[in-house]
Amino acid sequence: MTGMLDMDISSMTHVIVPALATTALPALPMAGINWHSVLFLLFAGLACGFAVGVVAADNVVRMALYLVFSLGATAGLFFLAGAEFLGAMQLMIYVGGTLVLLVFGVMLTAQAPFVSIKPSSSDRTLAAVAGASLLALLLTAAFSVDAWMAPGAGVVPAPTATPLGMALVGVRVDTPPSGSPSGGHVGYMLPFEIVSVHLLVVLVGAAYLARAKRRRTPRAIDAVASAMPVEPTVVATAAVTAPGRTTGGAKSALVGGGR
């Protein structure tokens, strides 16, 4: 066991030393600038600026892009705070999820190039009132917490994922066990299972809804081929280049564009 402890401590230094690079920059010379705060303001400004960009832009794809940058800057804030797991999660779920939004934006506006969307002035007023009231509520709530007014706590423990994973399988290692027989706090085994079963149900349901309907009628490509006798190579080309789009329109476009 002592050997294991030694190994832990020696590897611990490797964990902490890079973490210092981003999190423990206060108390340095150069006129006492708190670089942690500087970086925080940089990322926060980026997030807010691109959020304004989302509202101000009138093109769906540009909006989605600004949203990606805003959410990415938020992930940077999480990394700055030492919450690496949360930051990577933000990148994976929110930034990656916006990808689908972007794809839908492209698909919906691909009819005419670069459609712009301008909300009416009443919509703008309504949204501004709702947004401003929410902002005021959050700001007053945030500034009423005394602990948040003080400067940051400095170095946070760098590893975050392992205690989280342990807690999800029912072992809380982040809180010292008290005298109770259950050993202090219980983990999140039950919520984890409920959520995972819920997600499974959602997945099965989505697959059921999106499944390919069984065809009663002959396929469109066959109908086209029988109605309009063309040389078989063209039909083969259409089948190879436009699978899934085997309607007559796609085929005729291909034939017309190919010549």
């Binding site: 190994m7 010379p29 150069m30 892009l65 797991f85 990577a88 990808l99 423990p157 760098a158 029912g170």
Partner: protein, 413 residues
């Protein structure tokens, strides 16, 4: 490095900045220099497979300066933009692609402790950031105002979103075996002889490695999965309208991603920087200490990892110039009907193997099972030292049965 600079008398902020800059420049050179070498290698390999010679003259023998000549040609090209394009997005797209590819390198360890930023969630970070590269492709396809570009971008979006599912499942298996998402720790756990690599951990990991290879090739858009730039159908796909240096940014991103997924495969399945034969350990050198011998060992590990990653890239080239391109429905079938179920079954199999046969089939076959932990238990702000052993036995036994199997106390060799 920063500590060394502070020791020289530099102020802290300058030392940290210089250390970060050196790391960034080194990583950048891995991508840029790697692209130069790999493009030349791709030309030569493609030529040999097609019974040609490839570049032979530029730079003397073997045409080894061909990529540099290409680069100069690209620099001199005119930067064109289609008339109907969305200018901002069109100009931005290559940088988005390149930045995503570059950022993923931050968490990639090249040797023990030779890593831009050692992240506790390294695997997760790399996979998450690598998935962002597709943003650049979609923006390029949309902003080009060209139907070929748009077709390519939408194909790419469908492909990447689909292949992230089996890729994630494959990546989870080494994470489960190692009990951590830290790439450095995962590679450390495979130290020793070649049989310690997770590729040879059990039959399930051996199969899932090949699923990972398939998904990795698909996720970096290489043939036979290069639907996004299928030149026989879509002119050049999403980069039809690009020229000059912007176009080359896409290619640097592609070659960077190829190197990255290969290096990730090396770290996850092929022992990382641990060679097939633990030469350094056999002669008694250790990489953990701070003396000059340790640096030599790390240099050896660096060569090991880069060699493995390069081998992966060459494998991708071999596959590309050997197999014909799949259709889009075949691509989707490969992902959803084959890769995902195989990965799921292999994941379950590896789980049960780890549960019931943590020491392997042969008795007395030792693995470096439990000695290397992440070291978070004794961290600052963590647990008090008195409660650590109790929590360790409870938590580690729940997470990793091999720790309690008695193999943990054995030495790797």
């Amino acid at each position: 490095m920063a500590d060394f600079l502070i020791g020289l008398g530099l102020p802290g902020w300058l030392a940290w900045s210089i250390a970060a800059l050196v790391a960034a420049v080194l990583l950048h050179n891995v991508i840029a220099g790697g692209a130069l070498v790999f493009i030349w290698a791709e030309r030569k390999i493609a030529a040999r497979i097609q019974d040609r010679l490839g570049p032979t003259r530029t730079g003397g023998r073997f045409g080894w300066l061909q990529s540099l000549a290409d680069g100069i040609k690209l620099l001199a090209k005119e930067d064109l933009m289609p008339e109907g394009a969305d200018g901002l997005l069109f100009r931005l797209a290559p940088y988005v692609s390149f930045c995503a590819s570059f950022c993923a390198f931050i968490a990639l360890p090249f040797a023990f402790d030779v890593v831009g930023q050692r992240l506790n969630v390294g695997v997760f970070f790399v996979v998450a950031v690598l998935g962002l590269e597709v943003f650049g492709v979609i923006l390029a396809g949309y902003a080009s105002a060209s139907k070929w570009s748009l077709f390519g971008a939408m194909r790419e979006a469908a492909q990447v979103v689909s292949y992230e599912v089996p890729l994630g499942m494959c990546v989870v298996v080494p994470v489960m075996l190692a009990g951590t998402m830290d790439l450095v720790t995962i590679a450390e756990k495979q130290s020793g002889w070649m049989s310690n690599w997770y590729l040879f951990h059990d039959p399930f990991t051996f199969v899932i490695f090949w699923v990972y290879v398939t998904c990795a090739v698909a996720s970096v858009n290489r043939a036979p999965f290069d639907l996004a730039e299928a030149e026989s159908e879509l002119v050049a796909g999403f980069h039809t309208e690009y020229s000059g240096l912007r176009w080359s940014f896409f290619f640097m991103a592609e070659y960077g991603s190829m190197f990255l997924v290969s290096a990730l495969a090396a770290v996850l399945f092929l022992g990382g920087w641990n060679g097939p034969v633990p030469v350094a350990q056999l002669v008694g050198l250790s990489e953990g200490t701070g003396d000059s011998a340790a640096y030599f060992v790390r240099l050896l590990g660096l060569a090991n990892l880069i060699g493995k990653a390069t081998f992966g890239v060459l494998l991708m080239m071999w596959v590309r110039w050997t197999l014909p391109r799949l259709r889009i429905d075949q691509v989707m079938t490969t992902c959803l009907k084959y890769c995902t179920p195989i990965a799921a079954v292999m994941f379950a199999g590896a789980m049960f193997w780890q549960l019931f046969l943590p020491g392997g089939l042969l008795p007395g076959w030792s693995r470096p099972a439990g000695e290397i932990r992440e070291g978070w238990l004794e961290g600052p702000g963590g647990l008090p030292a008195t409660s650590a052993p109790a929590v360790r036995s409870a938590g580690v036994a729940a997470a990793e049965p091999s720790d309690s199997s008695g193999l943990a106390t054995r030495s790797p060799r």
